[in-house]
C-alpha cells in the first residue's frame, strides 16, 4: 500500500492550521506528451483503450539507432486523483519484484517508482487525475528520466503567466457543508490536435465525469477554477466553463 501519512494535493487534511480552501485540485483531459519531447525517438505504436471510466493512452517509443532501446508510455486518464492513485496502487500490486522503491515527488502530488541507487529505468507517477507509467520496454534498460522530465514540464504548465483568462468562482457554501456542482465546459474553437485541457481548482476537488466536470467544494471559503487549453506548442487559450 502507498504511504498515506503525507498530505496530498486535492485531498482533505487534518493538519492543524491547514486551510482547505488553499488546496489545489488538478484535472487533465486528453493529455498526451508532445512528440518533440521524445527527441529522435520514433513512436512505434500508439493506441487508446477505454475501460469503463478510464482511458489508457499507450505508446511505444523506439530508438532509431538501437533496436534494443525501447520505452513504453502508459497514460491513464481517470475521473479523479483518487482513481489515479488506485491505478498506481494496482500497478504496484502487479509488480512481482519487491526490490523496487517508490517515493513522493517534490510537491507531494507525484509518486515515483524508481531505484534510488541507479538510473531511472521505470517511473510511476500521479499527476492530478492521470496515472503515468514510463518504463524500459526493449532488451536494454533505458534511463527514462529525460522523457519523464519532459512530460512533467508539459503537465506543470504555469497559469500564472497568463492573467487574461478569468477564473470561474464558486460562491462560499453554507458553513459545515460541502457542495457538489456540475459544470459544463467547451473548447472554442475545438481542442487542437495534440492539445489538452488542464483544470486547476482551489477550494474544492475536481472530478471528470464523461463530458462534465464536477467540483466537490470544501466546507469553507469559495472555490475558484482556472482552465486552459494547452496547444501542441504549449500555447494557452481559454476554455468556457459554466455551472449547469
Amino acid at each position: 500500500m502507498l504511504d498515506e501519512s503525507k498530505t496530498r494535493k486535492g485531498e482533505p487534511s487534518s493538519v492543524e492550521g491547514y486551510d482547505a480552501s488553499d488546496e489545489v485540485s488538478v484535472i487533465f483531459k486528453d493529455f498526451f506528451p508532445d512528440p518533440s519531447a521524445f527527441g529522435d525517438w520514433q513512436m512505434g505504436f500508439r493506441h487508446s483503450y477505454i475501460d469503463g471510466s478510464r482511458r489508457l493512452e499507450r505508446a511505444v517509443l523506439d530508438d532509431p539507432e538501437d533496436l534494443d532501446r525501447r520505452v513504453l508510455i502508459d497514460i491513464c486518464e481517470t475521473q479523479s486523483f483518487a482513481q489515479a492513485k488506485n491505478v498506481v496502487e494496482m500497478m504496484l500490486k502487479n509488480n512481482t519484484q519487491p526490490s523496487r522503491y517508490f517515493r513522493w515527488g517534490r510537491d507531494g502530488s507525484f509518486i515515483t517508482v524508481t531505484d534510488d541507487t541507479a538510473p531511472t529505468f521505470s517511473r510511476l507517477e500521479i499527476a492530478g487525475n492521470l496515472a503515468l507509467h514510463i518504463t524500459s520496454f526493449g532488451r536494454s534498460d533505458v534511463d527514462v528520466s529525460t522523457i519523464t522530465d519532459s512530460i512533467n514540464t508539459r503537465l506543470e504548465v504555469d497559469f500564472s503567466n497568463s492573467h487574461s483568462f478569468e477564473p470561474i468562482k464558486i460562491p462560499k457554501p453554507l458553513p459545515y457543508s460541502r457542495r457538489k456542482l456540475r459544470l459544463k465546459f467547451s473548447a472554442t474553437p475545438s481542442l487542437p490536435k495534440g492539445g489538452f485541457v488542464k483544470f486547476i481548482a482551489t477550494g474544492g476537488e475536481l472530478r471528470l465525469k464523461g463530458p462534465d466536470l464536477l467540483i466537490y467544494t470544501h466546507k469553507t471559503g469559495e472555490a475558484e477554477i482556472h482552465a486552459r487549453i494547452i496547444g501542441p506548442d504549449g500555447e494557452q487559450s481559454p476554455i468556457s466553463i459554466w455551472m449547469e
Binding site: 512505434g44 493506441h47 489508457l56 533496436l67 534494443d68 491513464c76 512481482t96 526493449g138
Partner: protein, 385 residues
Amino acid sequence: MRVEEIRFNNYLHCGNFDAINTEQDLLRFRPPGDERAAGKTQLSAVYAKSASNNEITIKVSFSGGPSDQRRRIGAIVPRLEEGLCDAPIGDSHVHSSEPMDVLGSVCERDVAFDCNGLSAPQEFRLPVHHLRGVGVGRYLQHWRWRFKDQSNVWNDFDETYHTIYVTMGVPTLPWSQQITGDDSENLRLPWINAMGVACRWARGATTEEEVAAMITQAVNAHPRLVYDSDPKFLFGDKFLLSCFIDQIEGNRAFRVNCEDCASVVVTLANLLGCDLSEGKIGAAGDFYTNRVLTIGQQDSASNWITTKFKYHEVAWLHDIGLDKYVYDACLRVDMNYDDASKDPLPKLPVAMRFSPCAIGGYAKALIRIDELFHLAKKSLRRELL
C-alpha cells in the same frame, strides 16, 4: 457473371453447420451507407473441427446473370499444378505453400436471377470438406466458379480466394460467440488477427493438449520476448491483446512477465477451443525458486538463476489445483533441481502436473524445497482490451 458475396457464417447462433462468429460478422450490422457494410466477397472464415461431423453450407450471391432466368452453378477446386502463387488474399501471412482445399468443391445447384441479373443469396452445400482430417491451421481455399450452359457444358466465370482458419473447437472464455450492440462485449468475438497468430503457432495440432503445448512452446521460444518483472500487457484485470499482437508482428524485442505469458497462452489457446485459465502461485511474503531460465535467455549456465517471486502466474488446464496441469511459457525449470552440483536439465513446463509432493512435479521443480506457497483460490480468464 460474377460472385457478388460469399457468406461462410449464416447461422449466427451456432457454428455447427457453418463458420463460427468472428469480429467480421459485426460488419453485417453496420448501418446502410457505411462502406464497411458493402457486400464484398468475404475473404476469411473460421471453422471449428468439433463441428466437422456435420455438413457445411455457405451462401453465395451473384450478379451479371441472365434476366429472369435460372442457371446451374457450382465451384471446383483448381488442380494444384495450376499454381496459386498470386492468390490475391489480403493477408500477408498466407503463402502458396499453405495447405489448400480444406472445404472441397461447392456442390452445384440452380440459381434464379431477377430482371437485373442479380440473385438472392443461395445456400450451397460443401459435402466433401476435410475439416475432420486436418489439423489446426490456416488454409488457402481457391474456388473456380462455373455455370452450365444450354448445351450442358460447364463455363468458368469467376474465381475466389479465401483464408480458412481451422480451430479445435468453438472459442471459449474470454472469447464469446455473442453478438450484441455493446462494443465492449463485441471485443470478445474472435479477432481474425489473433486467429492468425494462434493458428500459426499451433499449426497441425489435432488435440486441445497439443494446441496448448504448441502455443506455450511458441511463446517461450519467441526470439523477441524478454523477461521483465512487471506486466507490460495488463491494465487492471484486462489483457491488452491488440498491443501484444502489434509487438509480436514487429521486429524489435519487448518485455513480458509471467502474467503476460500466461495471458497470451490462455487467450490464444482458448481462441482455438481449449479450456485454459490463468492462476497465481503465491506466498505469504516472497518465495525463492530453484534454478530457472527465464524467457528470452540463452540456455547457458550463467543464465540459470534462483530468484525471488512475490507470486508467479501460469496457465492451467481447466482450473487451478494441486493435481492440475500447468503450462508455463515464462520460464524453463531445472529437472536436476535436487542436485545443484549437476548442470541444469531444462524442461519447459507443458502439461506438467503441479504436484507439490511428487518427484518430477512442477511445484518441486520450481519452488525451493523449504519455501511455503499457496495457490490462488480462483483462476481467471482475463477479459480483452
